[in-house]
């Protein structure tokens, strides 16, 4: 996998990124590369800086050092919405729906603002039809006209993913998209995320559920206390003594 990332231009290239909150260093010199179409799992104990890294890539947080490149362009100083236009979409750890809007309207907002409303020559569907297809794709069509505040936890997770997909990203960042779901629900959502690969979308997934991580990841990255301690094939990484130490102690 290391070879493939070196031969083709990486889609996302995080170089020596540092992020501090006052005197606390949340990320120190973190490097991360995501190749086009690659599925990368990001794990680490609580407070290791996973969400901070995601927030730095998506632009919610400004980095204090290093650089973030997307498709060869330095995007370190772009505001979040501009990064969405470039092709980075994310879902939030705790679903953040537009709560006064219906499921359908939630998707429409993203279609209208992410730069994904333009029809290409081979796609003559109207924006409404595309929104409908996305809603159908995540299995929320029966709830299409329900106000999003009335959705259940699984449905909110689906909506969160559907909105990210509606931005037509080149890379999707799923921040604990499976948290708080039951076994069958985990599989359902995971299938949705795995399906992104067929569309050529790279996915960076933060997750605690190890079975899901192992099923999902082509490559696994481990953060501990703001440092990257492992990056490689999932099987190798989970057998890495340092990783075991970080999770289980000495």
């Amino acid at each position: 996998m290391e070879n493939t990332t070196q031969t083709q231009m990486p889609l996302v290239k995080v170089s020596a990124v540092t992020k501090k909150f006052g005197g606390f260093t949340a990320l120190s010199n973190v490097d991360l590369v995501i190749a086009p179409g690659e599925r990368v799992g990001l794990i680490g104990p609580n407070g290791s800086g996973k969400s901070t890294l995601v927030n730095c890539i998506s632009g919610m947080l400004k980095i204090d050092g290093g650089s973030i490149e997307f498709a060869g362009e330095n995007i370190s100083s772009l505001p979040p919405h501009a990064r969405v236009h470039a092709g980075i979409a994310r879902s939030f750890q705790i679903p953040r729906p537009f709560k006064t809007m219906t499921v359908f309207e939630n998707i429409m907002v993203v279609l209208n603002f992410s730069g994904n409303d333009r029809k290409s020559a081979d796609d003559l569907r109207s924006t409404e039809e595309r929104a409908m297809d996305i809603v159908q794709g995540v299995g929320l069509h029966s709830k299409k006209d329900h106000v999003s505040a009335s959705l259940t936890q699984v449905e909110l997770r689906k909506l969160e993913l559907a909105r990210a997909m509606a931005a037509n990203p080149k890379v999707l960042i799923a921040d604990e998209a499976l948290a708080g779901l039951s076994g069958a629900e985990v599989d359902e959502i995971l299938d949705l995320i795995m399906g992104m690969k067929e569309k050529g979308v790279s996915v960076l997934m933060i997750e605690h559920i190890m079975s899901a991580v192992m099923r999902f990841s082509e490559r696994l990255v481990v953060l501990v206390a703001g440092n990257k301690i492992a990056d490689g094939l999932p099987q190798d990484v989970i057998n890495n003594p340092e990783v075991i130490k970080a999770y289980l102690g000495e």
Binding site: R90, T100, V110, S114
Partner: protein, 312 residues
């Protein structure tokens, strides 16, 4: 589309009726009262564009209104025609809206509101200390006795003007509500971080909203000097403008074009009636009372109440 047709059909039916009032209503006072109510319609509708759609509570409505009024004073002193003064005031208030937005929109919630209140105080101080604008003493505007379109007294003309301005404001507000701009602003209101994180250029949309909202509030103020003919800071920066432009959308229903319209018609009319039957010093008390009543009994305003009542 159907809704659009109904709206413009309603407008075509109601507008001639309102425009014909000067031809068969005798009382001149009626038009002063109607002017006041329509002025509040503009303020409420304008406030709602930022406060109702985007959820940013602006306490500085009086400042924007005053910018409109004092722009007219400047234009008047420079012998500009009335139409030019109206455009000037609207433009200036829009510009200040843009500037204020740029400075304050990084603030959230109550901090933004306090910043707008502070802006109002700053502008009041500037006006009070600028002799060209009349300072604390105020400045007179001389208007003709008759309406330039020959229907009778000058107030008829002002009534036509404010009616047209109110209609324009309501149409603009309604267009925004059903456009991508309204959709984006509502996304900001619901969750600004999620909106930004999903591609909504939040700062740009908020700046557009403060500019339009400010411009319309200024518009409401541009003809004020012609109405009272004596402009001084306390009347122009009056608390009643700031309070009413917040209370009216809340009472009518936030975040819809019709809510502020209904709220302004209701609260504006009650205040005018109270001014005649009791005393105008009751006005703010009435606004406060009605507001408390609505917040506790019908928190979604008249619009929410009707929706619930009709079971939709």
């Amino acid at each position: 589309m159907n809704k659009n047709r109904n709206f413009y059909l309603g407008l075509v039916l109601v507008l001639p009726l309102l425009a014909s009032l000067p031809f068969w209503v005798q009382s001149e006072y009626f038009f002063f009262a109607a002017y006041s109510v329509l002025q509040f319609v503009i303020l409420a509708v304008a406030w709602n564009i930022l406060g109702g759609y985007a959820g940013y509570v602006n306490f500085g409505s009086a400042a924007f209104f005053a910018i409109g009024a004092y722009s007219t004073i400047v234009g008047y002193k420079l012998h500009f025609p009335q139409g030019a003064n109206i455009l000037l005031g609207t433009f200036m208030a829009g510009l200040v809206g843009l500037g204020m937005g740029y400075i304050t929109l990084r603030l959230k919630g109550v901090f933004f509101s306090i910043a707008t209140l502070a802006m109002s105080v700053v502008l009041l101080t500037i006006v009070t200390n600028t002799p060209f604008l009349g300072g604390a003493r105020g400045v007179y505007v001389i208007v003709s006795r008759e309406s330039p379109v020959g229907t009778g007294p000058y107030i008829h003309w002002l009534y036509f003007l404010i009616l047209a301005m109110a209609v324009v404001s309501v149409i603009i507000s309604r267009i925004i509500e059903h456009s991508w701009l309204g959709q984006g602003l509502m996304a900001i209101r619901d969750d600004e971080m999620a909106a930004e994180g999903l591609g909504v250029p939040t700062l740009k949309l908020k700046l557009i909203a403060t500019s339009i909202s400010g411009a319309l509030m200024g518009l409401a103020g541009t003809t004020f000097p012609y109405l009272i003919t004596y402009v001084e800071p306390t009347a122009t920066f009056n608390l009643s403008f700031a309070v009413n432009s917040i209370a009216m959308p809340i009472v009518g229903g936030l975040g819809t074009w019709i809510g502020p319209l209904l709220g302004a018609l209701l609260l504006g009319s009650i205040q005018q009636i109270a001014s005649v039957t009791l005393s105008s010093s009751w006005n703010l008390l009435i606004v406060g009372g009605v507001l408390v009543l609505f917040v506790t009994l019908a928190p979604n305003g008249l619009v929410g109440f009707f929706k619930k009542w009709s079971g939709k």
